[in-house]
C-alpha cells in the first residue's frame, strides 16, 4: 500500500535535497559580509518596517476560527459527494440538514457582523 506513495516520497526527497543544497551552497559559496540592502527581508520590494512581533488584532482570530469550522464542513461534504448515488435520499436528507444547520450558522455569523472587517 505504501508503495503507492513512492513517487510522492521521491518528490519530497528531491525537494529537500534542492532546498538544502541551495542553503548550504549559499552559505559556503556566497560573499560573506552582506550589505544592509541584501540583509533585509524581502517584502515585495517595499522597505520592511515595524517589528517582527507585531500584535495582530483579535479579528484575525475570529476569521480563522470561522474558517476552521467551515473547513470541517467541507471535510464532511467531500466523502458524501463521492457516495452521493449509493446513499440515496437518506444521504441527501442528512446532508441537507447538515448544510441547512451550518447555513443558519453562516447567516448568524453574517448578521452578527463577524464577517465585516471594520464595524
Amino acid at each position: 500500500m505504501l508503495e503507492t506513495y513512492l513517487p510522492l516520497f521521491l518528490l519530497f526527497v528531491v525537494a529537500l535535497v534542492i532546498g538544502g543544497a541551495m542553503f548550504t551552497l549559499g552559505h559556503f559559496v556566497g560573499r560573506k559580509p552582506l550589505g544592509p540592502e541584501q540583509a533585509m527581508p524581502y517584502e515585495c520590494g517595499n522597505d520592511t518596517r515595524g517589528g517582527r512581533d507585531v500584535k495582530l488584532t483579535v479579528k484575525f482570530y475570529l476569521t480563522a476560527i470561522l474558517f476552521v469550522v467551515f473547513d470541517i464542513e467541507v471535510v464532511f461534504i467531500y466523502p458524501w459527494a463521492t457516495l452521493f448515488k449509493s446513499l440515496g435520499w437518506v444521504g441527501f436528507a442528512t446532508m441537507s440538514a447538515f448544510i441547512v444547520a451550518l447555513g443558519v450558522a453562516l447567516v448568524y455569523v453574517w448578521r452578527k457582523g463577524a464577517l465585516e472587517w471594520e464595524s
Partner: protein, 533 residues
C-alpha cells in the same frame, strides 16, 4: 398507540428523538431570532433600571428586563421546557415501545435512563434560561449568544446521557463542554470571568484528553467502541487474553474516572470549580452546577455499570468502588470544610456543589452492592438540580447592577428588604442542607438508605457527619438574612426585581416542595429509569 400515524417508523423515530430534536431545531430558530432581532440597546436598559416599573407581588411577571435578552430568555426557556415536556411524553409512552429509535443505537440509546436525564437537564437548562433573562439585562451583559449556547449545551448534556458509544460520548461531551467554556467567559470585560473561563477551558481540555486516552485504550483492548460491546468483551476475557489486557483495562478505567470526576467537579479534581463558578455569570454557574454535573454522573453511571460491570472490576476488592468511595469522602470533607470558611456566598455554593458531588458518589459506590442505589442517585440529582438552581436564583435576586450580592454581609437584613426572596432562599438552602419537608431531605435519605442496604455503614456515617457540617454554612446564610442588620454605612446589595427570576424561583420552589411532600412519583420514575432494570 395503534393509530396509523404512530405506527409509522419515521414518525416514531421523530417522537423518540423529540427531546433532542426540539432543542436542536429550537436552538437554530433562536439563533435566527437573535441574529435578526433588533440589537440590544444599552440606554434602553439603563432607563429601565432606574425604575418606573410597577412593583408587583412575587411570582407575577414584573417587566424588569424588557430588552432583547429577556425575549431571548423566554424563547430559550420555552424551547428547553418543551424538551422537558417531550421527555415526559416519551416517558409516558415508554421509550421501549418506540422501537424505531433502535436505528440510532448504540450511538444514542433512547431508554428510560436517558429520558429521565433528558428531563432533568432540560428542566435545569430552562430554569437557568429564566434566571439569565433577569440577570443578563440587570448586569448589562448584552450577549444574546448566551441563549443559543445554553440550548445547545443542554442538547449536548442530553446526548451525553444517551450516549452508548465512545464516539458519540466524546462528541456529546465536547459539545456540552465547549459551550459551557464560552458561557463562563461571556463577560469579557471582567478579568475574573476571563480567568475563570481560561482555567476551566485548559483543565477541561486536559481532562477530556485523558478521557480520550482511556477510551482509546479500551478500544485497543477490546476492538469495540460501543459500551455494551466493550462490557461483553471485558466480561469474556479470561486466561491469556486477560493476562495481556488487564493493565490496559485498569488504566482505561482510571483515566475515564479521572475525566468524568473532573466534569463532576469531585475532589481531587475540583481545583477549577470555585474559580470558574465564581467568575461565571450566576445563571451559568447554576447551569454548570446542575446540568453539566448531572450529565457527567449519567455517563459515569453508564460507563461503570455497562462497561465495567464485570465482577472483577465492579467488586469492592479489585474494582472501582473503593476509588469512588475515596473520592466521595474527600469531596464531602474537603468541600464542606472549605465552604464553611468562605466569605462569598457564591463561592460557598460552589464548594457546596462539590460536597453534593460527594453525596452523589456515595450512591454511585452503592450501586455495586444495592439494587436501589441507582434510583437513589437519579432521584438525588433531580432534587439537587431544583434546589441548587433555586439557591442561585435567590442569590441573583438579592443583587443589582454594580451591587451584586456576593458576601454574607451583603445579605444582612435581606429578610426585611425582600421577604419573599429571602423566604425562597431559605427554603432552597434548607433543601440543600437536607432538612424535611424539602426535596433535599428525601434525596439524601434515599442515597443513605441505599448505602445502608449495601452495608456501607461507614460511608453513611461520614455522609451524615458532613450533612451536619454542611448545615452550618447553609444556616449561616439564614442567620445573616434574618438576624443581622447591615452595619451602618456598609454597602449592602439591594434586591432587583425580575419576573423571569421570580418565575424561575416559583418553578424551582414547586419542585422542591412537591418532591419534599410527595416524593413517590419521582422516586418510582427513578426506579423505572435504572440501567438494566
Amino acid at each position: 398507540m395503534d393509530t396509523s400515524l404512530m405506527s409509522s417508523p419515521g414518525v416514531m423515530m421523530l417522537f423518540g428523538l423529540s427531546p433532542i430534536l426540539a432543542l436542536g431545531l429550537g436552538g437554530l430558530l433562536l439563533m435566527l431570532a437573535e441574529a435578526f432581532g433588533r440589537p440590544v440597546v444599552a440606554h434602553a436598559l439603563e432607563a429601565q433600571a432606574i425604575g418606573a416599573q410597577p412593583a408587583g407581588p412575587e411570582g407575577q411577571i414584573v417587566d424588569a428586563g424588557a430588552g432583547r435578552a429577556a425575549e431571548l430568555a423566554l424563547g430559550a426557556a420555552v424551547i428547553l421546557f418543551a424538551g422537558a415536556i417531550f421527555s415526559v411524553a416519551l416517558w409516558l409512552v415508554g421509550p421501549e415501545n418506540v422501537t424505531a429509535t433502535e436505528r440510532v443505537a448504540p450511538y444514542l440509546l433512547i431508554d428510560r435512563f436517558s429520558v429521565f436525564f433528558s428531563f432533568v437537564v432540560c428542566l435545569g437548562g430552562g430554569i437557568a434560561a429564566l434566571l439569565a433573562g433577569g440577570y443578563l439585562p440587570e448586569h448589562r451583559i448584552e450577549r444574546g449568544e448566551f441563549f443559543p449556547l445554553l440550548v445547545f449545551c443542554t442538547l449536548g448534556a442530553q446526548a451525553l446521557a444517551a450516549a452508548g458509544d465512545l464516539l458519540s460520548l466524546f462528541v456529546a461531551l465536547e459539545t456540552m463542554s465547549l459551550g459551557v467554556y464560552c458561557l463562563v467567559g461571556l463577560r469579557r470585560t471582567s478579568v475574573r470571568a476571563s480567568e475563570a473561563a481560561l482555567k476551566y477551558f485548559l483543565l477541561g481540555s486536559f481532562a477530556a484528553a485523558l478521557m480520550l486516552f482511556g477510551a482509546a485504550l479500551l478500544y485497543g483492548a477490546t476492538g469495540r467502541t460501543d459500551l455494551a460491546g466493550i462490557g461483553e468483551a471485558i466480561a469474556g476475557l479470561s486466561g491469556d487474553g486477560l493476562e495481556g489486557r488487564a493493565a490496559q483495562i485498569l488504566i482505561a478505567l482510571a483515566l475515564l474516572i479521572v475525566g468524568l470526576a473532573f466534569k463532576v467537579g469531585a475532589v481531587p479534581f475540583h481545583m477549577w470549580t470555585p474559580d470558574a463558578y465564581e467568575g461565571a455569570p450566576t445563571p451559568t454557574t447554576g447551569f454548570m452546577a446542575v446540568a453539566v454535573k448531572t450529565a457527567a454522573v449519567a455517563v459515569l453511571l453508564r460507563v461503570l455499570l455497562v462497561v465495567f460491570a464485570d465482577e472483577r472490576l465492579g467488586s469492592w476488592g479489585t474494582g472501582w468502588p473503593p476509588v469512588l468511595a475515596t473520592i466521595a469522602v474527600l469531596s464531602m470533607f474537603i468541600a464542606n470544610f472549605i465552604a464553611g470558611r468562605q466569605e462569598s456566598v457564591k463561592r460557598m455554593l460552589a464548594y457546596s456543589s462539590i460536597a453534593h458531588a460527594g453525596y452523589v458518589f456515595i450512591g454511585v459506590v452503592a450501586t455495586s452492592r444495592s439494587v436501589d442505589a441507582q434510583a437513589s442517585v437519579l432521584f438525588y440529582l433531580l432534587t439537587y438540580t431544583v434546589s441548587t438552581l433555586g439557591a442561585f436564583g435567590a442569590l441573583i435576586l438579592a443583587g443589582r447592577y454594580r451591587a451584586e450580592a456576593v458576601s454574607y454581609e451583603d445579605l444582612a437584613g435581606f429578610g426585611r428588604r425582600h421577604p419573599a426572596a429571602a423566604l425562597a432562599f431559605s427554603f432552597f438552602l434548607i433543601s440543600l442542607a437536607g432538612v424535611p419537608p424539602t426535596a433535599g431531605f428525601f434525596g439524601k435519605l434515599y442515597v443513605f438508605k441505599a448505602a445502608i442496604q449495601g452495608e456501607l455503614y461507614w460511608l453513611v456515617v461520614l455522609g451524615l457527619i458532613n450533612s451536619v457540617i454542611g448545615a452550618y454554612y447553609y444556616l449561616k446564610v439564614l442567620v445573616f438574612m434574618y438576624m443581622r442588620e447591615p452595619k451602618p454605612g456598609a454597602p449592602f446589595a439591594t434586591p432587583m426585581r425580575s419576573g423571569y427570576v421570580a418565575t424561575a424561583l416559583v418553578i424551582a420552589a414547586c419542585f422542591v416542595l412537591g418532591l419534599g411532600i410527595l416524593p413517590d412519583t419521582a422516586l418510582e420514575a427513578a426506579v423505572a429509569a435504572v440501567l438494566g432494570g
